[in-house]
């Protein structure tokens, strides 16, 4: 099957590029939004599926990246690469500062902490009027010049191509990184952090690195959002968006970056194209239930996990008595 992967990817990419000329402005803008949601979903999949940190808080670096870009636009910085680097740095810095709250927790606790971080960021964006213009939002009108010497993006087709190029480069870089030892270290941390510590690995350091990279990716997604819609408000990173992204990741398969992109496409298309007025939540709910029942690992999820499910081999050790469980809890506390 692998021999068909590269030509198929090239053909898909050529098709996506051709849309800049073959589709109308509305469709181009919608595709660009799907790519942005897809990049945000990739950052969530990196944390949830690869590093084992389920998150509802990636909207925080997303918003911070978007506001950073809007502020740069206000200061007449129209160079795309500067906007992207600024947004990535802001998202990464936010992640670095909040990492101690996130990387030492596990499971539902991470979900709650990241949800709180996302909601706090939305609240700050709504109230810090001198910087963010509050709930009115910020206009960021200006034509982006992707790189010095290139033409400004003056059509929706050009903005779509710019978004496609940025998302393609970043997702490819991430896929390559995940195929390297760094990816194996993260997956091993997700599988069994205790075993990682027993092998001498700095687990918190690895998780912090993943969290910072995911923050930078979300920040870039925020910058692209500002480029596409020339506007940002707290609602662009509210709980609805966070839940939608997690839904996209679950549907696509949390362990697959491509799955996250596909999931984002499905979710946004269902919400904005397929659903009639007011029926989007119902359709999304049905899609979610169908996926959870029929594809517990998502469309493109971990095949090893699927194999475990099929063979009914227990992933966890056999049940133990209360004393051993109490000892395990003490071990975990000591290890932190």
């Amino acid at each position: 099957m692998r021999w068909i992967l590269y030509p198929a990817t090239a053909a898909l990419l050529a098709l996506l590029i051709s849309f800049a000329w073959t589709l109308n402005d509305y469709a181009n803008q919608m595709l660009a939004r799907i790519l942005i949601v897809g990049l945000l979903a990739v950052s969530v999949a990196l944390l949830t599926g690869v590093a084992g940190l389920p998150t509802l808080g990636q909207t925080a670096p997303y918003l911070i990246g978007a506001y950073t870009t809007a502020i740069l636009v206000h200061h007449d910085v129209d160079l795309g690469i500067v906007q992207l680097l600024g947004a990535a740095a802001a998202g990464a810095l936010f992640a670095l500062l909040t990492a101690p709250l996130v990387v030492y927790a596990r499971g539902t606790v991470v979900l709650m902490i990241t949800l709180a971080l996302g909601e706090l960021t939305t609240t700050v964006a709504g109230r810090w009027k001198s910087v963010t213009h509050g709930t009115d939002g910020m206009l960021a009108l200006g034509r982006v010049v992707p790189l010095p010497g290139l033409a400004a993006l003056d059509t929706d087709g050009a903005v779509y191509l710019y978004t496609l190029a940025v998302v393609t480069v970043l997702v490819t870089a991430l896929l390559l990184a995940l195929r390297s030892p760094a990816g194996a270290l993260l997956r091993a941390t997700r599988d069994d952090a205790r075993r990682m510590r027993a092998s001498g690995h700095p687990v918190a350091g690895y998780l912090t690195a993943a969290y910072v990279v995911a923050g930078a990716l979300a920040g870039v997604a925020g910058a692209l959002l500002v480029t596409v819609q020339s506007y940002i408000s707290p609602n662009d990173g509210g709980f609805d968006v966070a839940a939608l992204i997690l839904l996209a990741v679950v549907i696509g398969g949390a362990t697959s970056m491509i799955g996250a992109l596909v999931g984002a496409g499905l979710v946004v298309a269902t919400r904005d194209w397929l659903a009639g007025a007011g029926h989007a939540p119902l359709l999304l709910g049905c899609l979610f239930i169908v996926c959870v029942y029929l594809l517990p690992n998502g469309l493109l999820g971990d095949r090893a996990a699927l194999l475990r499910l099929r063979t009914r081999r227990p992933a966890a050790p056999p049940s133990r008595d209360a004393a051993a469980i109490s000892e395990q809890i003490s071990e975990d506390r000591a290890a932190r």
Binding site: P181, R187, R194, R195, A198, S199, H201, A304, R313
Partner: protein, 233 residues
Amino acid sequence: MILRVEGLGRSYGDLAALDGVGLELAPGERRALIGPNGAGKTTLLNLVAGALRPTAGRIHFAGRDVTRMSPARRARLGIGRTHQHPAVWPTLSALDNVLVAARRPWGRLRAGARDRLAAAGLADLAGVPAGALSHGRRRQLELAMALAGEPSLLLLDEPAAGLAPPEVELLAGLLAELPDGVAVLLVEHHLDLVYGFADHVTVLHSGRHVHTGTVAETRRSPEVAAAYAGVRP
């Protein structure tokens, strides 16, 4: 001494899982730790590995006081271990499990990791996800992983638990081929395996040290017989 444990204790409320145990291990020594269920053997292993914090006593490894060190730092200093329930990374291949456990750049390690897998009897299973391996194969893999970190002290927690007799024989062969310079502390209920492997045997009962001696001395010890017969000496 590579390991010196002094007055080590671990209590859970009023229950003392380990009570003032002392232990010394020379470099390259093979020491078995035996005793009935609840004797505190695994607790002692977890305390030495850093997975548990002691409520009393000190642990010195290679001349350093490691009592308050994290498990990861102890592992980097040279304490390797296996677990009662074999702990492998199920979604990684067997080869990647060994590579990750080795903690060094992979380019130069790949051949060495394959050798380690071959030595553990897993040469044909290098590309198989560890989660798809049988219990016995996981035990072999975890031993290869522990050795990949090139420890100077290896803690083995009931490596024969759940193995069929032919697998125990295979395990005995693997233990016999452990590098000479590695000190081993083996917790095990399988006494034939213990007596065939160990230079010295330490016996715990109800969290207390009962006896340390050679295999021959341990076989003759009335305290050991009493401990296994359920009578506190």
